[in-house]
Each structure stands twice: as C-alpha cells, then as structure tokens.
Symmetry: C2
Subunit: 294 residues, 2 copies
DNA sequence: ATTTTCTTGTAAATTATTTACAATGGATGA
DNA sequence: TCATCCATTGTAAATAATTTACAAGAAAAT
C-alpha cells in the first residue's frame, strides 16, 4: 500500500534529496522512475507524464504514484517543485568540491553552496531579534564590533558600513583594545560580537565586561553557544561549517549579509537626510579616483 | 493580430521583466492578466488556467494568448518559466528596499538581492582567467592583497583565508605600506588588487609598481576600469552597485566569494597534505575556546 | 501449492489546455 | 451619425493530459 511512504510535506529545496533518500525503500517500478528522473533532471521538467512513463518504462499511474511518494500532490506539482529546486541550486546534492572537479565545476559549487547557505540563514533568522538589534543600534551613541580571525574581517567591514550611515562605529580584533573599549562603554551603547565558533573565550570575557557596564551586546554566532547565550540580543546563525579542505567558509558571508540587514534597518530609521550624506561621501571619494570614462 | 508581439525566445530569468516591459503595448485584457500575475507571482505558479482566467477576469484563451505574447509556448511552459525565475530570485522586480518595508520584508530583500548578485557574477565569470589566477598564486612565493575602504575588509579576509592554506599572505590598506610592499615584490610573486570602483588612483599606482617589478597582478574589479585593465590577470566583476540608501553593497560579497573560489582552487593544487595542516590549525584554535558542550 | 497481499498496468473518466470560430465593440470614414 | 471594418475577446468544441478505478499478475507467506 502506498502509505508506507510518508506523505510529509517538504520544501522544494529538498526534493532531489528526498528522492535519493527514499530510493532504497521504493518499489521496483517507482525506482525506475526515480532513477530516470535523477539522471535527467533538467529534461524532466519539460516532459509530459506520457513521455516520462515511456522513457522510464513504466505506466503513467506509476509515475503519479512516484510523485505522491516523494510528497507532491501529483505530477504537475512535482514538476513545479523540481523546476524550482533546479533553478535555485543547479548542482544541489553535489555541492562538496572534489578533487576531480574542473575550474568550472568548483566555481559553480562554491557559488551555489554560498547561495544555499544564505537562503538557509535567511529562513532561520529571528526577525524579532533583528528588529530589537536595529532599535538598539539606533538608540546607541557608540557601536563597536568585536571579532577574531575571519570574524575580524567581518567586524572591519561592518565598521566601514556603519560609518557610512553616520553611526559612530569602531572595530577591534585585539583583545586588549576590546577590553579597553569594553570598560568605556556606557548604558545604551551597543557592542556587536561576531563569532563563527561561538566559543571564543576572550570574546566571552569582553561580552561580560560590556554587559557589566550596562551596554547592550548583540551577538552574531551559532545558537546554543556561550557567545549567543551571553548576549543581550542574540542573532543566531547556524550555517554548518565544515572544516573540510574543499569547503568554503560560507558562514562569514552569512554574517556579512546579516550586518547588511542591520545596516538597512538603521538606514530606514535614520530616513531621508542620510541620502544626502551618502551622496556627499560619494563625491568625497570621487577625488581619490580616476575620472569616469563615459 | 498576435504577431505584433515578437516571439523572441528568452531566458527564464528575464520573464517578469519581459512582462513589465511589454505591459504598455498589451491589449486591455492581456494587461489584466499581466497585472494580476505580477501582483500574485507566487500564487500563480500553482494556479490552473481556469482559476487564473477567473481571477484576472478574462477568458482562458486570453491567458494563453498572454503567455505566447511573453514568449512562452503555452500556459504550462509559462508557469514553469515563472516558477524557475521565482526560485532563483524570489523577490525579483521588487528587490530595492522601500521605506514601507517591514523587518521581514527588507531582510528577505537583502538576502535575495545578494543571492541575485552572486548568481549573476557566477554566470559572468571568466573561468580561464580564474584558472590562470589560481596557477599564478600557486607558483608565487608571496601573495599580497591590496584594497581600500570596503575592499580593505575583503583583503583582510582574503589574507586570513590564504594563511590557512599555508600561503604566505599579507593584506595592506595603507598606501604607504602598499608601496613598500610593491617595491619588494619579485618576479612570479602575486598581488591581488581588489576594488569596487576600479578607479582608485592610489591602487593603480601600486599596480604599476608591482608590474614594474615583474610580479603578477590579479585584479578583482569591474570590467573596463583602469584597475582591471592594468592587471596581468583581470577577474572582472560587474555587480551593479547602486549608491542608493537602501541598497546593500553586494559587490564586496561577490568579491569574497571569488576569493573563496581562488582559495578552493589553490587548495586543490596543494592537495592532501593540506588537510592535515587544517586539522592542526583547528586544534590550535581549540585552545582559545570554551570546551564544546556536547 | 494455495491463498493473500502487494505491485503494476489497462482502460475509462475526469480535468485541463488549446483551437476554431463567432460575437462584440471600438475606430474610421462616408 | 451611421455603416463598415478590423482588432479584440469570449464561447464552445476538440484535443490533450492527468488521474482514478479496477483488474491482472507477481511475490510472499502459510
């Protein structure tokens, strides 16, 4: 009976994985369908059920049963879901770079896995926390960014970004400076602590310092980590981080984008007069550049 | 007659734009369809032609005529194309953040526009240049990164990244240091010059210095800019950069990802012994962290 | 070996899409 | 202002696609 295949609803992004996963527990003819589909992903989305049935050497109802088995409403629904997944991450399921990959392949994989990470992070963000973070930043006199290692670069980028928005921003990657900064924070001020591991001892110390001064700590770190838990406003980001050789570190990019979101939020708060300021900045920078040639 | 609408074939990514573009020259009822579709993008992909016709208050054949007018084969084909486009950039056509947006809205828009940029950059990369860049880096004794402003953060991130790969890397955002570094480069060494504008005078000077020393300059900059043109190996990236108030600066993220690609390429060249090194690094960093709690 | 249950396909019914054609309505010129 | 023509739209029929119901055939179990 069909009910051995659970009818759980799923996001389109998980379709091909769902297919591969349930391959072993499929019936023979359904498996024929699955195998044909996996081998001809891009073609399938433009096929009619009759063609697909013929190609997979099964009957049409079997195709429909297959679609239901992987959680879709019917064949049309399946095609739609497949089309969406293919559009969103073309090399899904084989994102890890391998030795054999050509330049073209690993380039695409790096981009695709980054995109993948971003979309996952986007969907798992706590918007309420985000809002609180924006409000806190807007209310603060000073905003400072702490981070080590790869997160130091993120912190400097953030500083640059907020500077543009007329926010008094600083970034420290030196524990001593962080400490000095921390002790000089006043109530209402904001420190944004960035960590990929969420477990950096020095950073946690600095956070405690800042909190003892009555300032607010926004953490950008994985959930259930000391850094996230120590923060006043935790922005948790769980981009899984392989330390594997061929895996790019996407989480720092997710961190940057989250900071972009904060910056946009602050820009919205500040409203129109900022536009003018940004144009001024632009003009100022123009002096450092070669004249535009068009 | 229908033939006033040209039957040009197009990439799915341009569908909604094609719709908006041809809106003015559409017939009244076709426009009703177009407007309804643009206002209900996500719903439409799961609608049947009858529902859509009813919602748009037109007949079914009109819907089909509309689909043909925008370059599709029929209604099914249209839905498929739309689904693919939506999957690849979910809030296409309304990515610019507006004053009225809620936290949820602008968060999604920031992520989506970043994703959008990445996918565009991915598709426009010159893989041959990329390959040459990887080879140059692998052959170099020293690799240094130059960048100002937002690109300085990118440069520091890159330094960190390559350091992990046992590449002797440095990053300079100070023109004086850049100059000193430039004059000490030897033939075969590599400088990676990062610029969002591609027109920073100081950077161009440094590039000329480096070239005169016989070293290789890889540029990460927009095409047709002095920086790109001065480089030995230009990696051109044309993420359009609005200086608008509510637009995130996605190009620096594209730059980071391109550097990720370079890093993966170098890692592949270096091969297996690197794995061990990365694990060592990991262990070393562990000492700076709170013990894992699971 | 026989019965039961699961799997698959055939054929029919349903449902969706497309085509052909007719009616409407607006524009143009008398 | 009315008649005529052509562009536009809808109606209804035809075609095509998908889904359901059921029966035949395998496989498994007793």
């Amino acid at each position: 009976m069909d009910e051995l295949h659970k009818d759980y609803s799923m996001k389109p992004a998980e379709l091909t994985r769902a297919i591969s996963d349930s391959l072993p527990e499929m019936r023979k003819s359904e498996r024929k369908v699955a195998e044909f589909i996996l081998a001809n992903l891009t073609e399938v989305i433009r096929m009619r059920i009759v063609d697909l049935a013929e190609s997979a050497e099964v009957s049409e109802p079997t195709v429909v049963r297959f679609c239901r088995a992987v959680g879709c409403d019917g064949f049309q629904d399946f095609k739609l879901a497949l089309a969406q997944q293919l559009a969103s991450s073309p090399s899904y399921g084989q994102i890890a770079v391998t030795d054999a990959d050509s330049v073209a392949e690993y380039t695409f994989k790096v981009f695709d896995s980054t995109v993948d990470t971003l979309l996952k992070v986007r969907d798992s963000l706590d918007l309420d926390m985000l809002n609180r973070a924006v409000n806190a930043i807007c209310a603060a006199n000073r905003v400072e960014f702490y981070g080590f290692g790869a997160s130091a670069a993120v912190a400097f980028d953030a500083q640059h970004k907020f500077f543009r928005l007329q926010v008094s921003a600083a970034a420290y990657a030196d524990p001593h400076l962080q400490n000095m900064s921390a002790t000089s924070m006043a109530p209402g001020d904001v420190v944004i602590a960035i960590s990929q591991s969420g477990r950096t001892t020095t950073l946690i110390n600095a956070i405690e310092q800042v909190k003892s001064r009555g300032a607010i700590v926004i953490a950008i770190a994985p959930s259930d980590t000391p850094v996230a838990m120590a923060a006043t406003i935790p922005l948790t980001i769980d981009a899984k981080e392989d330390i594997q050789i061929y895996t790019p570190l996407s989480s720092r990019i997710a961190h940057l984008v989250v900071i972009d979101v904060l910056a946009i939020g602050v820009a919205k708060h500040k409203g129109g007069q900022l536009q003018e300021h940004l144009l001024d900045l632009q003009h100022g920078l123009e002096a450092l550049r070669v004249p535009q040639n068009n």
